[in-house]
Symmetry: C2
Subunit: 418 residues, 2 copies
């Protein structure tokens, strides 16, 4: 799939729009058939995929790319198998398209239905994770959209190989041509072009680091749906159960520290400064966590002083900022000021405190007595997700299939005029 | 409310964010009380409003502003009364905030509720219609949002007078300070600043012409909700009832040609070229409509040849483009190519044709046997609207109160960890 055979970014977008017209009314059975065909095609083309990936890996190693990035880039039989499974899981989800979301009759007799429809053409801009190529395609196709994939340059060979395999499989199973396309280049210019093609592209989903998202949000004329950072908080209220507070704090910080729903700041009510606070800090330290503390917390052994910047920081590793607060109100103000509106939890036995926290915290997910780690499509029972939105428009929290859909009104009349 | 007393655009936004925290949990009664207080305050301050408006009108006349713009700018007792009524109507609407949109329990016992919440801070950028100041504020406050108003320079004195009156009334009735603020200047720079304050502003609503919307969409880092142009179509299928086709065509074109849901193009099936087409064209002409026709239509008396640009044009006046098409499919392709995805209607007796049209037309509102003029918040029974969205993200079609809301998850646990 070279530059010559597919043409310009605009031409790719134009072809995607044409495909989206057909995809929009494709029966569920054909869409699921395409997903299953993709799931079968991947292991059947394993040598091809691994060869392309070896090429990417070699080039990345030559560039001195970090081990963690190499690990994200690397494909093996198990990881290709996982992509296949993801496709089968999406095939098993109910088809969101065609749902009558609302319907009512107005006095003049018009029957108004609000119906769920595909978005149209979805562009996905991502970095060096080849699995996004398949995961994003699965959700886009199931929701009746054409997809344009623009992965990072490091994974170029892998992404093009995967795209070729799944797009051919989908087409054989009845999806229209150009349902699944990858941009042939990963230069900055191709993203710049994609972001301005609002005539053809209905939604752009940037998946990756802050700079990628910032660039897309600032420059896109295509509407954007992004998955933001997670500076998540645990607030332990004065009356919290000590065991529960410790278990949730450790789980939220330690179980998988590299993900966006892991906790980054612990707030503890001042009444617990002499009792639970030392226990929580030493338990975190015993789990290998570096503690950045407020003045009160700094009095405890091994605690590094927290600076202003720490309260804003998403460590994504075994570090945490700890602050003692005087009240529930101070905790809420701190979270709304420093947080990223992702996921926050209160640990309390107090009904009113729980109610106030739920009402006043302005985040996508607000927990009472549970770990922030549950903010996840699968944990929410939605099936696959394309990320966790921290924006307030359209989709907020785990974004499943419906995040890639729109709604339209269909109105049944019998000659009504105004 | 001069520059000195309110400070910079950023300071206004920061104050709005603080107000939004309080507004988010304000009881329905207080919000409605604030709306009613505003409704009473307007007629009570009529001389002040008319004096400010006279100032704007005088300056506008001195600038040689067109009569139609002057008419939009002009306020009198009746128009101020209409603003008051609009406030009372919004007060009477159900409060959208707090609605549990969905709720379910997952196997580990977590109870997940998806709850409707305010957007936060809503910025409205508009042109020379002072009534937008009041209408937009009414919807924003009812949905629990703080609002920042940036009207056009022509209406500056009117807008500042209106804002002062309604914000003071709201505050006396229990709304927090800075719930309703106007930018003190109407220069381009103030909009540029507003568009970049995503740290404080959650949603920007541009209301006005194409250039205004294009500028905001291209440059805003704040999520945008816009009301686009309406190049609406009527397609008359081969088997249409002649009387119904004529009545709907005339209504959609003539009843109020200056609005976005008026028809701009008429498509007629070729089977009707010798029968209904001449009748429709002469009826349109009898209503004062200039007809731009395709080659077949040009054969009729008084028809001007349509050029390619006509199919893209939103005339917003007594002009229409008329094209004869060979099939339903050609009509659908024409609409999806040239339309603005606003409102389209098919006139037919055929069940399958209606079904195909509804499924394949990619517009916010698709009608069978009714005028496109019904795409309107009040006609849809939603009450007041802030415009008709032709974007696919978040809100599509008439945007009522819920367009100014977001949703968040609140999760009730009992110590769950992963």
């Amino acid at each position: 799939m070279g530059v010559d055979s597919v043409g310009s970014v605009e031409e790719i977008a134009r072809r995607a729009k044409a495909a989206s017209r057909v995809l929009a009314t494709l029966p569920t059975g054909i869409k699921n058939g395409a997903l299953k065909a993709m799931a079968q095609a991947l292991p059947a083309h394993l040598p091809e995929i691994l060869a392309a990936n070896a090429q990417d890996m070699q080039a990345a190693r030559a560039k001195g790319i970090s081990d963690s990035l190499l690990d994200r880039l690397m494909l093996d039989e198990a990881r290709v198998g996982a992509m296949s499974e993801a496709l089968m899981e999406v095939a098993a989800l109910p088809d969101p398209i065609g749902e009558v979301v609302k319907g009512w009759k107005v006095p003049n007799g018009l029957l108004i239905n609000q119906v769920r429809v595909p978005m149209g053409v979805v562009g996905v801009v991502y970095e060096a994770r080849p699995n996004v190529t398949v995961d994003a395609t699965a959700l886009a196709i199931k929701a009746g959209n054409a997809v344009i994939l623009r992965g990072g340059s490091l994974a170029m060979a892998s992404n093009l190989a995967l795209t070729k395999i799944i797009s051919e499989a989908a087409e054989k199973a009845g999806a229209p041509p150009a349902s699944i396309q990858a941009l042939p280049t990963a230069d900055r210019e191709s993203v710049d072009q994609l972001m301005k093609l609002d005539r053809y592209i209905d939604l752009l989903v940037p998946r990756g680091g802050k700079d990628l998202i910032k660039n897309v949000v600032a420059n896109s004329t295509v509407p954007v749906l992004w998955a933001g950072a997670g500076n998540c908080h645990i607030y332990v209220h004065a009356d919290a159960d000590f065991d529960m507070a410790e278990e949730i704090t450790i789980n939220a910080k330690v179980q998988r520290p590299s993900v966006c729903n892991a906790a980054e700041t612990l707030l503890v009510h001042r009444d617990l400064a002499g009792s639970l606070l030392p226990r929580l800090v030493s338990s975190l330290q015993a789990h290998g966590v570096t503690v950045h503390g407020c003045p009160t917390t700094q009095a405890l052994p091994g605690v590094i002083p927290a600076v202003e910047e720490d309260w804003y920081t998403e460590y994504l590793g075994l570090e945490i900022a700890v602050k003692v607060v005087d009240s529930l109100g101070e905790a809420i103000d701190h979270i709304n000021k420093y947080g990223t509106l992702h996921s926050e939890a209160i640990i309390t036995k107090d009904y009113e405190a729980a109610k106030t926290f739920m009402a006043q915290i302005d985040s996508a997910a607000v927990y009472v007595n549970a770990s922030t780690r549950f903010t996840d499509g699968a944990e929410f029972g939605m099936g696959a997700e394309i990320g966790i939105s921290t924006q307030k428009l359209h989709a907020r929290g785990p974004m499943g299939l419906t995040a890639l859909t729109s709604k339209k009104y269909v109105i049944f009349g019998s000659g009504q005029v105004r």
